[in-house]
């Protein structure tokens, strides 16, 4: 039986099926939920444009987009993993590891493109190892990725001996990925939009990704439908780490450096974004577009806090409250519908 059932013993079957029905209705009106997020984001932007003249400038807008573009790539993988019923706490560490591996290989004389490909491949390998522990050994995603988070962070420190690698010798063509732009639009944003568009489309339409929903919705029923749920879980885990690795090399290009401590705590931001955007920690539901809107909301809030001169010490607390509020509203909506 699914863990969901163990979780709410007092709820009766009927109540459960009702709240699930309601969630599904919301998912179907997915546009509605996403529309709700868009409205909130726009309202915040309008309010901020009165509060600060700097807010509604192309510069600030670009900065905001830039700030979540690269993380947005990681969110894509995380959302798919959440849909299959998993979670990945190691993404921050993997981003850093991909960065330092590529950086170290470049410093050792490899050309940056090959070095980056190796960095991404190594990230995929980390995903494969986690996938092995989840599907073959039978640990859950939470524990496995928690361990991986710590281990991979340790590896970052080992590779770099704890000091950031300075990569100012990167060739301009490589630096352009993170720093250049095309007709005024940064490449980073273009890459982000392409990745999001492709995966959002695939998740909605591709057969392979439909299996992700089946597995997350009811793993046993998926098995009883001939779906190799372990394979599905394995590949989704690999995908999440690969996208994190990809984000890592873009960060390297952007910063011209590889920092072993980079991205610590990033995973929480990313999970929060996906959940605000409607992904369920129980698996079975979520959309990429929603997760990106969640990311955008958090980013607008951060940017507002900075422009309003609110102390950085307050920022985490406020973001946490937003997460709580968003998830509560969603939950109450479900209840009302039932």
């Amino acid at each position: 039986m699914s863990p969901r059932e163990a979780e709410a013993p007092i709820m009766t079957a009927q109540m459960k099926s009702e709240s699930q029905g309601a969630r599904w209705n919301l998912a179907r009106l997915g546009s509605m939920r996403e529309a709700g997020l868009i409205v909130i984001i726009l309202a915040l932007c309008i309010a901020m444009s009165f509060a600060s003249p700097h807010f509604l400038t192309w510069g600030n807008f670009r900065a905001m987009l830039m700030s979540f573009s690269i993380e947005g790539i990681v969110v894509v993988g995380m959302t798919i993993l959440l849909i299959v019923g998993g979670i990945d706490l190691s993404v921050g560490s993997v981003v850093a590891f991909s960065m330092v591996v590529s950086g170290a290989l470049f410093l050792a004389g490899l050309d940056p493109w090959t070095a980056s490909l190796i960095g991404i491949a190594v990230s995929a390998l980390i995903g494969a190892v986690m996938g092995f522990f989840v599907t073959v050994v039978g640990l859950n995603h939470f524990i496995t990725s928690l361990a991986a988070m710590v281990i991979v962070r340790g590896l970052c420190l080992i590779v770099t001996k704890g000091t950031p690698l300075s990569l100012f010798t990167l060739p301009p063509a490589f630096k352009a990925i993170g720093q250049g732009s095309f007709h005024g639009v940064p490449y980073v944003i273009i890459i982000f939009v392409v990745v999001v568009a492709v995966f959002d489309f695939l998740l909605r339409r591709a057969t392979a990704f439909r299996k992700v929903f089946y597995t997350g919705s009811n793993e046993k029923a998926a098995q009883y439908s001939g779906i190799r749920t372990k394979q599905v879980k394995f590949w989704v885990t690999v995908l999440s780490s690969t996208l994190a690795g990809f984000a890592g090399v873009i960060y390297m290009s952007r910063f011209g450096a590889a920092t072993p401590t980079f991205g610590a705590g990033m995973e929480l931001n990313i999970i929060a974004a996906a959940v605000i955007g409607g992904a369920s920690l129980n698996g079975g539901s979520g959309t990429i577009f929603g997760a990106i809107l969640g990311m955008a909301l958090l980013s607008v809030v951060t940017s507002s806090l900075i422009l309003l001169d609110i102390s950085v010490y307050w920022q985490d607390m406020i973001k946490g409250c937003i997460l709580l509020a968003a998830v509560s509203i969603d939950h109450l909506l479900h209840r009302r519908k039932a």
Binding site: Q14, Q20, Y224, I227
Partner: protein
């Protein structure tokens, strides 16, 4: 007649655009067993959920012992002495049987510590009334039918005035059902009123005092059992005559061998099973709960690991290491555990129907052809008469019987060569059941192999051309069409020198 213990008048309930109940009246006398009948989706479970405080009516009122009452939530219903055994099993799989049985009681207890020894002893006493299931077992390790018994035992521990049983026997075999009836009669003699929902007419007519019929969410009639007949009840339910409950049997010799199983064992629950299924026939498999019927079928289809034995389809030996292999070879299995492994509750009907073979619906570039998916689901849902808003609706919004039809539609979507169906008509109403039986017969005559595992004796006897009876994981015997009868099946199922209380361990599936 004395004041009814429970009186419903003018209750309506809608779910969005779907009207589940319209102006329902219903009354329950003290100390009666009152049957509630209606087709799948007629609104029976919805009304029970309203009485048990799970749902709130949109309109209408409820009187308990003459007093107008609002039942705000399940705890309030419990305080009023109303206990409901849900149609869908809702137990904690990780807790033991005893802990599950006393969940409501523990919930209302004040003392901070639990006396586990007493808990176990009391739970065992209640459980033994129904079946000798060891109460220290984890519920998740029990078969679906045993879970159903635990669910009933749980309700029996409540000190109630009104007991509602929503299709309690859907997953039970005859002996357990008989034991349940004895308990229900005993409760009646103590003045407790029982609402009994079932699609099995025979049960209703042997057990109940009155019967109320719903159709399309409306009240149709209430009759004394002694002054009505099963045919009349069915007519009121479906609004027309059902000429023939079971289709004609095969009247010629069966054709070539479709499925051959030899010496199949999984090493724990089934041993040395051999069987043969020929074109045109419907093969039945009977046996008591815990006899290993389902495990046998699951092993055949690669859902449990095979320790020894061989499976051949159309004379071709197939290697089945996982279920996907079986599906590819055209062998599909319908699970008896609808909610746990049969359907994806929060996904759409269309997505459920296509889960078995996505490849068929996949176009160029690995994209899913959603128009074809909708068309397929619409067609199959129409063929099976699923009552629904549309194929885009979540399966959780369907009534139990309609969810079962979706599970069957999923099997049909792949044009299987052999279908192994575990309790195919569980929870399905009389009319739809006759439809499904006719469909199975039609498939069989077109050369699809059909194996039906059923706890319902009349179904085995009425539908199948040949029945294998399983006992303790082995085929205990085979009955040809002319030997079929309840007695013959029970004799084989229980073993002739039956020691009435089978080993307790046997009940742990």
């Amino acid at each position: 007649m004395s004041t009814p213990i429970l009186e419903i008048s003018g209750v309506s309930k809608s779910f969005g655009a779907i009207k589940a109940l319209t102006g329902i009246d219903f009354s329950l006398a003290p100390g009666e067993i009152h049957a509630l009948c209606g087709e799948n989706g007629a609104g029976k479970s919805t009304l029970m959920n309203i009485i048990a405080g799970v749902l709130q009516p949109d309109k209408g009122e409820i009187r308990i012992a003459g007093e107008r009452t609002v039942i705000a939530n399940p705890a309030a219903a419990q305080r009023l002495g109303i206990a409901l055994v849900h149609q869908e099993i809702a137990l904690c799989p990780d807790a033991t049987v005893a802990e599950n049985i006393f969940m409501p009681a523990i919930n209302s207890r004040r003392a901070p510590l639990m006396n586990f020894r007493r808990l176990h002893a009391e739970a065992q006493k209640v459980m033994d009334l129904l079946a000798p299931i060891p109460v220290r077992t984890k519920v998740g390790d029990l078969s679906i039918s045993n879970q159903q018994l635990v669910e009933i035992a749980k309700a029996l521990t409540l000190d109630c005035r009104v007991l509602i049983l929503d299709e309690p026997t859907a997953a039970l075999t005859e002996p357990e059902a008989q034991r349940l009836f004895a308990i229900v009669r005993e409760l009646r003699s103590r003045g407790i009123s029982i609402i009994y929902i079932s699609h099995r007419m025979a049960e209703i007519f042997s057990l109940c005092d009155r019967v109320t019929v719903f159709r399309d969410g409306r009240y149709v009639a209430t009759d004394e059992i002694v002054s009505t007949t099963p045919d009349e009840v069915v007519r009121k339910m479906v609004g027309r005559e059902i000429a023939q409950l079971y289709p004609d049997k095969l009247n010629e010799a069966p054709g070539r061998t479709l499925l051959k199983v030899s010496g199949l064992s999984d090493g724990e629950r089934c041993f040395g099973v051999s069987l043969e299924l020929r074109a045109g026939e419907i093969l039945g498999i009977g046996g008591l709960i815990g006899s290993g019927r389902s495990e046998m079928a699951q092993t055949m289809c690669g859902l449990r690991s095979v320790a020894a034995g061989e499976v051949e389809i159309d004379g071709q030996p197939i290697r089945i290491s996982c279920y996907a292999d079986a599906v590819k070879a055209g062998l599909v299995y319908l699970s008896e555990d609808r909610k746990g492994s049969g359907v994806f509750l929060d996904m759409s009907i269309a997505a459920n129907v296509s889960a078995l073979d996505l490849g068929k619906l996949t176009g160029k570039l690995g994209l899913l052809d959603r128009r074809a998916e909708t068309a397929q689901a619409t067609e199959l849902a129409k063929r099976l008469g699923v009552r629904m808003g549309g194929v885009g609706a979540a399966v959780s919004t369907l009534s139990g019987g309609n969810q079962q039809k979706v599970a069957i539609a999923k099997q049909l979507s792949v044009d299987p060569r052999v279908m192994v169906m575990d309790e195919p008509t569980r929870g399905i109403d009389v009319g739809a059941k006759a439809e499904i039986h006719r469909l199975l017969r039609e498939l069989a005559s077109r050369g699809v192999g059909i194996v039906v595992i059923s706890s319902e004796m009349p179904e085995l006897i009425g539908l199948c051309d040949r029945v294998l009876v399983v006992r303790e994981g082995r085929v205990a015997g085979e009955l040809a069409a002319d030997e079929l009868g309840e007695e013959a099946i029970i004799m084989l199922a229980s073993g002739v020198q039956s020691n009435s209380h089978n080993a307790r361990a046997q009940n742990v599936a």
